[in-house]
């Protein structure tokens, strides 16, 4: 089983043969509790007990708080694995989550070859979108809808605080909300593209994380990178799925070792 305790949502994935089950819920204030809850919920759903689970890997920013997990691994390793399963053959994974965004290059087998991550500022993350949405009195989930077909305005500030006041003054100037949101989407895409191009160009790009649901960001990202990007429907679960896949690898290897003896 894999459990991904992210800053905004927590996910758990259980592998059983080639089938898998999952649950997802908001993290709230306690990552420890959220991790426990998705775990219990998934056990319930599958009709299993802890003892039935061979190996548990925790990932995400709350990964070290789960004492019932067998091992903690970073979301970078897990996302590469999970995205490879969802989009076979992807050599580049772009993940934009709540707190951070990352670009991972893989060996096409789901193993990390190189990666880069945003530094401590929020530009180019889900958090940036959230702050901007709030400034415009909208909900993050409606952003894509509101910006559809709109001509983006230029947002020049990357810094969340400055961009927020830029957005407010654009609103005051009477620029339409749709155009501003389109501009924000493009700004996130540009930021992430710059990060990606520092380490190279991918051929098949998988886009994961909460923000991958936003089709505005998705489009600009494809345009900026000059490549098609693939978003699997379950892309939000890539981290938890990757953790589950790694847990299974671990079990299989242990078995092989055991049989060798």
């Amino acid at each position: 089983m894999g459990i991904d305790v992210g800053s905004i949502t927590s996910k758990a994935v259980l592998l059983n043969g080639s089938a898998w089950q999952s649950v997802l819920r908001p993290t709230g204030y306690s990552p420890r509790q959220a991790g426990r809850e998705v775990f219990d919920e998934l056990l319930d759903k599958a009709g299993l007990a802890r003892a039935d689970i061979g190996y548990i890997i925790a990932t995400g920013y709350g990964r070290t708080t789960l004492d019932f997990a067998d091992k903690a691994m970073t979301e970078i390793t897990c996302h590469a694995k999970g995205a490879h399963h969802l989009v076979p053959g992807a050599d580049m994974v772009i993940d934009i989550g709540g707190q951070d965004s990352k670009v991972i290059f893989t060996d096409r087998q789901g193993n990390v070859a190189d990666f880069s991550m945003n530094d401590k500022c929020a530009a180019g993350t889900g958090r940036f979108l959230q702050v901007m949405a709030a400034a415009m009195g909208a909900d993050v989930s409606e952003l894509a809808e509101l910006a559809r077909g709109e001509e983006p305005v230029q947002i020049s500030n990357m810094c969340t605080v400055f961009a927020e006041s830029e957005v407010i003054s654009l609103l005051a100037e009477g620029v339409g909300r749709g155009r501003i949101i389109a501009g924000i989407h493009r700004s996130v895409a540009k930021r992430v593209t710059a990060m990606a191009e520092r380490i190279g160009k991918g051929e098949l790009i998988a886009f994961t994380g909460g923000v991958s649901k936003n089709e505005g960001v998705r489009e600009y990202l494809a345009r900026e990178l000059g490549r098609e990007i693939v978003v699997a429907p379950e892309s939000q679960l890539a981290g938890a799925l990757g953790a589950a896949l790694l847990a299974r690898e671990k079990l299989l290897n242990a078995k092989v070792l055991h049989e060798k003896k």
């Binding site: 920013y61 091992k71 979301e75 970078i76 951070d100 990390v112 070859a113 190189d114 530094d119």
Partner: protein
């Protein structure tokens, strides 16, 4: 198991302070230095005590920011903050300060420092490859020599210089030998211990005692090796650290790397090989000043252009220490090292089939969580053992 004498190194900074105070009281002079280019041989030849004032701690930065711009590298801010707050006894005891024109931030910071202590700023050439570079640098060394003679009221003879060269060389040999013990796999010393031991050489009041202590540690580590001991399990990913200078107080990345399951086996940066790679020529027939100038000008620092020597040194170390990955640690707002990171990355990628991680951070703990994820992911990438 940790070598016993590491405990002495842990307390050395505090103990040396007492020794320094006593030395001052008995009339010895103290000269503060900030950079590897500063020729400690001249200070030793003048009979004075060279101390390193390079700021490696976060505490004084807030005070420095009252004067200096915030978007400056933490090393400069920390150094300046220590100086103006009187929080660093080594600065306090210094009679004279030597700075040099390395990066822009540092050279302008020295101009401000002049208000606090008598300061001399050496002018470095911009690169080592121009025909006039060596003679220029040698000229700068004689200017420093004159200034030291004047300030400290001494005369420095060629024989004094030759003796100082021998002393500095023997210190360097000892530290290098210690460093090289880590060529063994698994490494007998943790990166943190290696850093602690090498970093302390900047605070030794009595060089001979300092060298003896390093030699004692070497003997002890050799015993550990014989017993087959190491703080690491076989197969622990071996990491080379390069980039901006790191010291005690700014060791967070090394800590994270080792807590995350890696072993930092060697340092290319200023506390390590950058200054250990070559000795000063001891040939008695030579002008000692020229020999000192020759050696120090070869230090491969990013302030120089071009700085190909760094890549060559990196390549040598990657091979000799058989490292699995390179971590390039640069301080925020350090333009020279941050730009050079691109060259380092390309060089490692094109010549060795090993991953390279560039980290840009400061002395604070504000990005610890983020850094931890990156560093741990890097170790996971290097460590193929876990499954």
């Amino acid at each position: 198991m940790r070598p016993e004498s590491m405990k002495i190194f842990d307390d050395l900074r505090g103990q040396n302070m007492v020794v320094l105070e006593n030395a001052k009281q008995s009339g010895r002079k103290v000269v503060g230095m900030y950079c590897a280019y500063c020729p400690q041989e001249l200070v030793l030849a003048a009979g004075a005590i060279p101390v390193s004032l390079c700021g490696t701690r976060d505490e004084p930065i807030a005070d420095a920011e009252k004067v200096l711009p915030r978007n400056l590298c933490p090393l400069i801010k920390s150094s300046f903050g220590f100086a103006i707050t009187g929080k660093c006894p080594y600065f306090y005891f210094s009679d004279f300060i030597v700075g040099e024109t390395t990066c822009d931030g540092k050279k302008k910071m020295f101009e401000l420092l002049k208000q606090y202590k008598p300061t001399h700023i050496m002018h470095l050439p911009q690169g080592a490859d121009r025909p006039g570079a060596l003679s220029w640098w040698k000229e700068e060394l004689s200017l420093l020599k004159e200034r030291l003679e004047e300030e400290l009221g001494v005369t420095i003879s060629d024989d004094n210089l030759r003796e100082a060269v021998k002393l500095a060389n023997s210190e360097q040999r000892a530290v290098k030998e210690l460093h090289e013990l880590n060529k063994l796999d698994p490494a007998p010393l943790s990166g943190l211990d290696l850093l602690t031991a090498t970093f302390m050489k900047g605070f030794n009041v009595n060089k001979f005692e300092g060298i003896a202590l390093v030699n004692r540690l070497i003997d002890e580590v050799k015993e550990v090796i014989e017993r087959g001991g190491s703080p690491f399990r076989a197969g622990t990913p071996r990491i080379l650290l390069t980039g901006c200078p790191v010291g005690i107080g700014s060791e967070k990345v090394i800590r994270l790397l080792e807590e995350g399951g890696g072993s930092v086996v060697c340092f290319e940066s200023c506390s390590g090989y950058k200054i250990l790679a070559m000795l000063t020529d001891e040939d008695e027939r030579r002008d000692p000043l020229e020999a000192i100038a020759e050696r120090s000008l070869k230090i491969p620092c990013s302030c120089m252009t071009p700085n190909e020597g760094r890549l060559g040194l990196l390549g040598r170390m990657i091979r000799e220490y058989r490292v699995d990955g390179v971590v390039d640690l640069t301080w925020q707002a350090c333009h020279t090292y941050n730009i050079e990171a691109e060259l380092v990355r390309g060089y490692v990628r094109d010549n060795f089939d090993i991953p390279c991680l560039h980290l840009e951070t400061d002395y604070s703990n504000s990005d610890l969580q983020q850094l931890k994820t990156r560093v741990t992911a890097f170790i996971e990438l290097l460590d193929k053992r876990w499954t």
